[in-house]
Amino acid sequence: MSNHSYEPESFAFTPEYLEKAKAFIAKYPAGRQQSAVMPLLDLAQRQEGWVSRAAMEVIAEMLDMAPIRVEEVATFYTMYNRKPVGTFHVQVCTNLPCMLRGSDDVVAAAKATLGVEFGDMTGDGKFTLSEVECLGACVNAPMMQINDDYYEDLTAESTKAVLEAFKRGETPKPGPQNGRQFSCPAGGPTALTELKFEGGKA
C-alpha cells in the first residue's frame, strides 16, 4: 500500500461540510465519537469525489482514532472510492439477477459509449466505469448506479441513451428506463385491477 501520486498533500473539510461533520459527531455520546467514522468518510467523498489518505488522516484526528482504523473502514466498504473518480461514477451491477436479465449487454454498451474498461476514468475526467456487486435493485434488473441515482430496467439502447444524455450535460430521469412505474409488473397490473370490497359494493 504505497502512497500513489494522486494522493493529495492535504485535505480540509469545507465550512459547509465541517458543519455537517460536527452534526454527525454530536449524534454520538461523548467518548463514542468514533462511531461517526462512516458518515465522515461519506462527507469527505461527497466533497472530493473520493477518500484520500489525507482525508482519512484528518478524520482520524477529528475522531481521536488511529489512521489505520479509518483506513480499515474505508477499504472494507467498496462504496468508498480509494482513488479519484470522474464527475459521474457509473457503477454497473453484474451479479446473478442482473446477469440473467442481460447485464452483459449493459456492460458492453457502457464500455462502448464511454470508451473505457472497468476501473478506468475517461480522458476528460467526466466518467468512471466500475463493476459492482448487488445494489439491491434486483426487481428492476439489470441496473446501474450513477452517483446517487439508480437507472434500472436497462437495455443496451437505454444504457447508451442515459450515458449520452450525461455526456451532453443533461440529467436523465432516474428509475426504470422502460416506462415501468417502480417495480410494478412490466405490462401493467395483473391483479387488483378493480376495487372490490366485501359485500360486493364498489
Binding site: M1, N3, E57, A66, I68, T75, Y77
Partner: protein, 690 residues
C-alpha cells in the same frame, strides 16, 4: 459461579469465563489461532469449534461464555469434522512452503494441519499471493502465509499501544498491513513474531539461519535492562541464534523488549577474546599471567590508591569479588553507579521499584518524574498501559513531553514542579493523596543530575506527605536502567564512609590520587578525564573502556556465565551459561579470583557456590533466588538543598543502543537508523515503502 462439564469432567469457573479458558484450566487442549489469553477476543479463525449440548451449531469456544450446566464436548466426530472444514479453508490460500519457512517445526498451523488437515486439496483455483509489507529491520513479513488471525493487529494496538497495523480490504482481498505513513517502531515489535501462529511474521535478523529443532534452549534471565525478563537463549554450537521471552507473570508476563531480543548479534561482534596489555601506547595481546603481572606491578606501587567502578551489566558475583579484593588492598573506593546517580545504598526501599512490576497494575494514581518508561523499560511501560486501559488511573509526568502510549497530564519539565507537588502546592498532590494506591516513578534521568539527592529527598517527602506508603502498599518506585544496579547496591558496591564515589574516583584519577582504576564493564565513564591512571578494563566488549584501558581482561557476557542479577523490584535472579565465552575469555568472578592470587591477596572462595554464600552473607536478598525481598520503608533518605536548573530528561536517548552489547549490534544500529531511537511511530516515509 457456573458449573459446566467438558468432556465429562466437571469444573466450576467464574462467570464470564469462556469455554476455551475453562478447558485450559482442565488441561483439555482446544486448537486455536486467533485466541490469545493476553489479547482481546476476536473469534475469527474458527479453529476452536466445540459441540455444546442443546446448541444447534458448533460454537467458537474462545468467544462463548460458560453457562450453568453447560455440557461441552471437544472431541466428537462432529467437532473433528467442523475443524477439518475450518482447516481446509485456512489452507486454501496458505502456501505449503514449510520446508523453507522459518516457522517450520514451531508452527501452530503446521501442527494443527497434522491433526485436522486433509491430504488432498479439493480446490481447483490458484492460491492468492499477497505482497510483503515493510515492518522495519526486525520483523520479516511473508504475507502470503498470513491466515488473518489478527493477533498482530491486536497486540500492536492493545499491548504496545502503537496502532499502526490493520486489516485492509475485505473477504478475499483482506490484507494485514501497516499504515503507510507510520513505521512499526514499537519497542515491543519482536513480540509480533512470537504471537504470529504461522510464518507470516518471522525474525528478520535471524532469517534463514536456523531450524527450530536444531537449537539448544537455555532458560536464562535478561540483563539488557533492569527488569530482568525471563528469557530463553536459543543456541547452535557456540553461537546465540535468538533470544525469546519465557512466561514470568510477575516480571515480563510473556513479552520482551526489542533490545533484549535482537541485540544478541552484538554478542558476536567487538568481543574481547584474549587479554591485552598496553605496551608503548599500543594494546598488544598477552597471556593471562602477563596481564596479571602488569596489574600487580602497578597495584603494588599504588598502595590504597586503587578504585573500581562497576558497569551496567556487571554481575553480583564479580562485584562482590572486586569489593573484597579492593578491601584486601585497603581501599573502599568502589561504586556501581557509573552514571553518578545519587542513590542511597543504606535504605533499600530508596532504590527499589517497591510496588513491584505486577503491583503497578494495582495503582490508581501515578506520577512519573524524570523518566521515559517507554524507552527505559518498554515491558514495564506496557504494564502501566495495561493498568491505564482498565480506567480510573490518573497519570502525570514531570519531564520530557512525548508519547508514552497512554494519556497523562504533563505537569512540565522543571524540577521545581516536583517540589511544588511534594509540598502540597500543586493540584496533583491531592490526586495522589486521595488515591487508594498512589505511586511514584522516579527515573535515573532525575537521580543522576547534580541535584539528584535533592530530587530523591523531595520524592521521599512526597511519599510521606501523600501517603505513597500505606498498609500493604509501597508506591515509591525507582526505575533503573542498569541490570547491575540493584544488585550492586544490595551487596554494598558503594564507597565506604569517607571514600570516593564515582565522580571523585574520576576526579582522583585525573589528579593522580587514584593510580589504578578497575572498570568492570563500565563504559559510560568519561574516559578522557581519567588522566594518567592505570586503567584495567574487565568486560566482554571492545567499547569505550577497552580503548582507554592499559590492561584488558576479557570477561563473559550475560549469556556466557551463571551469574546473579537483582532486578529493579529487588528480585535476585540467575542467568545460565548458554554458550561459552569466546577465546580465552573467562567467567568474570573467576578472573577476579585469579587476579587476587596474582596480587598476593587470595580471595577466600574457589567455587561459584562459595561466592554465592559470600553474597548471601552480604545481603539475604541473594539467598532468595526468584523472589522479591521487600524492603522496609525505614529512615529518611535523599538530601535537602536547592534545585539546579534545567529540564528533567530521561537518561535513555536511544532505546536501541544503551550498552556495549547493543552498541556492537548491527541490528540495533539498523533500528537506530530506521526509527531514530524509538518513540517515533509517526515517522514519515516517502517513496514506495511497503
Amino acid at each position: 459461579m457456573p458449573k459446566l462439564t467438558i468432556d465429562g469432567r466437571e469444573i466450576e469457573v467464574e462467570a464470564g469465563t469462556t469455554i476455551i479458558q475453562a478447558a485450559d484450566l482442565l488441561g483439555i487442549e482446544i486448537p486455536r489461532f486467533c485466541y490469545h489469553e493476553r489479547l482481546a477476543i476476536a473469534g475469527n479463525c474458527r479453529m476452536c469449534l466445540v459441540e455444546v449440548e442443546k446448541m444447534p451449531k458448533p460454537a467458537a469456544s474462545c468467544a462463548m461464555p460458560v453457562g450453568e450446566g453447560m455440557v461441552v464436548k471437544t472431541n466428537t466426530p462432529a467437532v473433528r469434522k467442523a475443524r477439518q472444514g475450518v482447516m481446509e479453508f485456512l489452507l486454501l490460500n496458505h502456501p505449503l512452503d514449510c520446508p523453507i519457512c522459518d516457522q517450520g517445526g514451531e508452527c501452530d498451523l503446521q501442527d494443527q494441519a497434522m491433526a485436522y488437515g486433509s491430504d488432498k486439496n479439493r480446490c481447483q483455483e490458484g492460491k492468492r499471493a499477497v505482497p510483503d509489507k515493510d515492518y522495519g529491520p526486525l520483523v520479516q513479513t511473508m504475507m502470503t502465509r498470513c491466515i488473518q488471525c489478527t493477533r498482530c493487529v491486536r497486540f500492536i494496538s492493545e499491548i504496545a499501544g502503537t496502532p499502526v497495523l490493520g486489516g485492509l480490504g475485505r473477504g478475499e482481498h483482506l490484507e494485514i498491513s501497516r499504515y503507510v505513513n507510520a513505521a512499526v517502531s514499537s519497542e515491543l515489535s519482536g513480540n509480533l513474531i512470537d504471537l504470529c501462529p504461522v510464518g507470516a511474521l518471522t525474525n528478520k535478523p535471524a532469517s534463514y539461519t536456523y531450524r527450530a529443532w536444531e537449537l539448544k534452549k537455555t532458560e536464562s534471565v535478561d540483563a539488557m535492562d533492569a527488569l530482568g525478563s525471563a528469557i530463553r537463549v536459543d543456541t547452535r554450537g557456540n553461537e546465540v541464534i535468538r533470544i525469546l521471552p519465557r512466561v514470568a507473570e510477575d516480571v515480563n508476563e510473556e513479552w520482551l523488549s526489542d533490545r533484549s531480543r535482537f541485540a544478541c548479534d552484538g554478542l558476536k561482534r567487538q568481543r574481547l577474546d584474549k587479554p591485552y596489555v598496553r605496551k608503548d601506547g599500543k594494546l598488544v595481546p598477552a597471556t593471562w599471567n602477563e596481564a596479571f603481572a602488569a596489574i600487580a606491578a602497578k597495584v603494588k606501587a599504588a598502595g590504597t590508591k586503587v578504585a573500581a567502578i562497576a558497569g551496567d551489566q556487571a554481575d553480583a558475583e564479580t562485584m562482590v569479588a572486586y569489593k573484597d579484593l579492593l578491601a584486601a588492598l585497603g581501599s573502599q573506593a568502589v561504586d556501581c553507579r557509573q552514571d553518578g546517580a545519587k542513590l542511597d545504598a543504606s535504605v533499600r526501599a530508596s532504590y527499589l521499584f517497591n510496588s513491584t512490576a505486577a503491583g503497578i497494575e494495582e495503582a490508581d494514581a501515578l506520577l512519573i518524574v524524570g523518566s521515559n518508561p517507554r524507552k527505559e523499560n518498554p515491558v514495564l511501560n506496557a504494564r502501566i498501559r495495561k493498568r491505564w486501559q482498565k480506567g480510573g488511573f490518573k497519570v502525570a509526568r514531570i519531564g520530557h513531553k512525548g508519547d508514552l502510549t497512554y494519556k497523562y497530564e504533563h505537569l512540565g519539565d522543571d524540577a521545581s514542579i516536583l517540589k511544588a507537588v511534594a509540598e502540597g502546592k500543586h493540584p496533583f498532590f491531592e490526586v495522589l493523596k486521595n488515591a487508594k494506591k498512589p505511586a511514584l516513578i522516579i527515573g535515573q534521568g532525575a537521580l543522576s543530575r547534580a541535584d539528584g539527592a535533592v530530587l530523591l529527598g523531595l520524592a521521599r517527602k512526597l511519599a510521606d506527605a501523600a501517603g505513597l506508603v500505606r498498609d500493604g502498599w509501597n508506591g515509591f518506585n525507582v526505575l533503573h536502567t542498569a541490570a547491575a544496579r540493584v544488585g550492586g547496591l544490595d551487596l554494598g558496591f558503594v564507597p565506604g564512609q569517607g571514600w570516593r564515589d564515582v565522580d571523585h574516583i574520576v576526579d582522583g584519577a585525573h589528579k593522580g590520587d587514584i593510580q589504578v582504576l578497575f572498570l568492570i564493564g563500565a563504559d559510560e565513564v568519561d574516559m578522557k578525564a581519567l588522566g594518567e591512571a592505570f586503567v584495567v578494563y574487565q568486560g566482554s566488549h571492545g567499547d569505550a573502556g577497552a580503548h582507554r584501558a592499559d590492561v584488558i581482561l576479557p570477561g563473559a557476557a550475560y549469556t556466557e556465565k551463571s551469574a546473579t542479577f537483582v532486578n529493579l523490584e529487588g528480585r535476585a535472579q540467575q542467568t545460565r551459561l548458554a554458550v561459552f565465552p569466546p577465546g580465552e575469555a573467562k567467567e568474570d568472578w573467576r578472573i577476579v579470583r585469579a587476579l587476587s592470587e596474582a596480587l598476593g591477596k587470595p580471595l577466600p572462595y574457589d567455587s561459584l557456590k562459595a561466592v554465592r554464600e559470600r553474597l548471601a552473607k552480604a545481603s539475604p536478598v541473594f539467598a532468595a533466588i526468584g523472589q522479591v525481598v521487600p524492603a522496609a520503608w525505614g529512615a529518611a533518605f535523599g538530601a535537602e538543598g536547592s534545585l539546579g536548573d534545567g529540564a528533567l530528561v530521561s537518561n535513555v536517548d536511544n532505546f536501541y543502543q544503551t550498552d556495549p552489547i547493543s552498541r556492537a549490534s548491527k541490528t540495533m544500529a539498523e533500528c537506530t537508523a530506521a526509527f531514530g531511537g524509538g518513540c517515533n511511530h509517526k515517522h514519515k516515509k516517502t517513496g514506495t515503502h511497503g
